[in-house]
Amino acid sequence: MAATFFGEVVKAPCREEEEEEEEEGRRETPEDREVRQQLARKREVRLLRRQTKTSLEVALLEKYPCSKFIIAIGNNAVAFLSSFVMNSGVWEEVGCAKLWNEWCRTTDTTHLSSTEAFCVFYHLKSNPSVFLCQCSCYVAEDQQYQWLEKVFGSCPRKNMQITILTCRHVTDYKTSESTGSLPSPFLKALKTQNFKDSACCPLLEQPNIVHDLPAAVLSYCQVWKIPAILYLCYTDVMKLDLITVEAFKPILSTRSLKGLVKNIPQSTEILKKLMTTNEIQSNIYT
């Protein structure tokens, strides 16, 4: 209540939320609850064992010991690991992460085909503590925490090294230089405090930031003091592209991938084949 200049008493607008109104607004109807739970179930990230396709009870890296974990996010990074790393050793699939969000092209959440939203996890047969993840789906913001929990667990080991590879469009790169002169595709790195080795390319400068799942993984590693490095390739072609994939090549000489890459010329041939099988010729460009 307040008095005006003329002596009238008026009800002053109150910024304090009134309890009755609050409860009414927040009271969830059973239908709302049902819808919310359905949506949560739809968007759940499920980690499945390879053979049985049953869910893993514990986090992936709590179940298996891990010394090295390489994560490829995006089709170009996935193609790079497929051609250069996965061809140089015998990798066994240990499981996959199944998830659905609005980016998926199908509305059927239970029968996602293997070409759809999937993150596949492998380990090297000759050294089972070396893990690899090929993630070619988009993991939405609300699903990233779930993904981290299901993969790393709630109390991850610190004696592993994480390497993340991903791509971003060059128009996202902020720089004072003229964008026309940028040598795209080019590589930038971002590492956690505990990562002591040097990167094979310049570090990502401010004010550039990392987005999506790579950012979630890197933040998680920083919080848990796990040494991790992210290699981010800025490219002008977001679809599967030979030149973009080859821009990741400097990483082959780093400690992260040392010993995992054997036959580079053969890998280059495999990469070329991968490109031609995936090429969808468009008539828009000449």
Binding site: D236, V237, I243, K272, T276, E279, Q281, S282, N283, I284, Y285, T286
Partner: protein, 224 residues
């Protein structure tokens, strides 16, 4: 507009101008002849473009009309510089008009002027144009340009066949599957545009490969 485009190379020789382009693989049911990348603007000028095909079609049509209009008005064929300037001015207009977007093409324009001198110009979507001795446009243009910088010599362009071979060699640096994916066109002084057939291109490619082998044999002999 270097995104998703295939290589185009232009070389200005003493008596010849060469345009080489990377052929993209055509779908099985598509008529190859309708996928043309080298277009004649007039009898003595032709151009190759990289970028949006539809935009190129519009620009080429305007340029062709201008060539004839010029001939009828001034009774002289256009100079290569004139038609390049026309195309560049057109492109620039679209960068400064409301409701329009720039033409998404870069072009290599080659030809001979009345004075008998060969010309090569490159234009880009901003509407700038420059004369070049040899240039490349497309996704891997940097690699090809570096090759040209190393290998463009007065000897290399003195003879017609050497200039043609230089264009093919430059393209082979970046073209994935070799000679069968290269299309070539030349203009000789006072002669109309000539498109090479696949067989003719293959002949040059075989010659280049032979020369390479001989050069390598000589090298290994020397080292022994």
């Amino acid at each position: 507009v270097d995104v998703c485009t295939f290589e185009k190379v232009g070389i200005r020789g003493t008596n010849i101008v060469v345009l080489g382009v990377e052929k993209k693989s055509v779908a099985k049911l598509q008529d190859e002849r309708t996928v043309r990348k080298i277009c004649a603007l007039d009898d003595h000028v032709c151009m190759a473009f990289a970028g949006l095909t539809a935009d190129a079609r519009v620009v080429i049509n305007r340029a062709r009309v201008e060539c004839q209009s010029h001939k009828l008005t001034v009774e002289d064929p256009v100079t290569v510089e004139y038609i390049t300037r026309f195309i560049a001015t057109l492109k620039q207009k679209y960068t400064q008009s409301n409701g329009r977007r720039p033409f998404g093409i870069s072009a290599l324009i080659v030809g001979f002027d009345d004075d008998g001198i060969s010309r090569l110009y490159q234009t880009d979507p901003s509407g700038t144009y420059h004369a070049w001795k040899a240039n490349a446009i497309g996704r891997n243009a940097k690699t090809v340009r570096e090759f040209l910088e190393k290998n463009y010599t007065e000897d290399a362009i003195a003879s017609d066949s050497e200039a043609i071979k230089l264009a093919i060699k430059a393209l082979l640096e970046v073209v994935q599957s070799g000679g069968k994916n290269i299309e070539l066109a030349i203009i000789r002084r006072n002669q109309p545009l000539k498109m090479f057939s696949a067989k003719e291109v293959e002949l040059y490619v075989t010659e280049i490969e032979k020369e390479k082998e001989e050069a390598e044999k000589k090298k290994s002999k020397k080292s022994v």
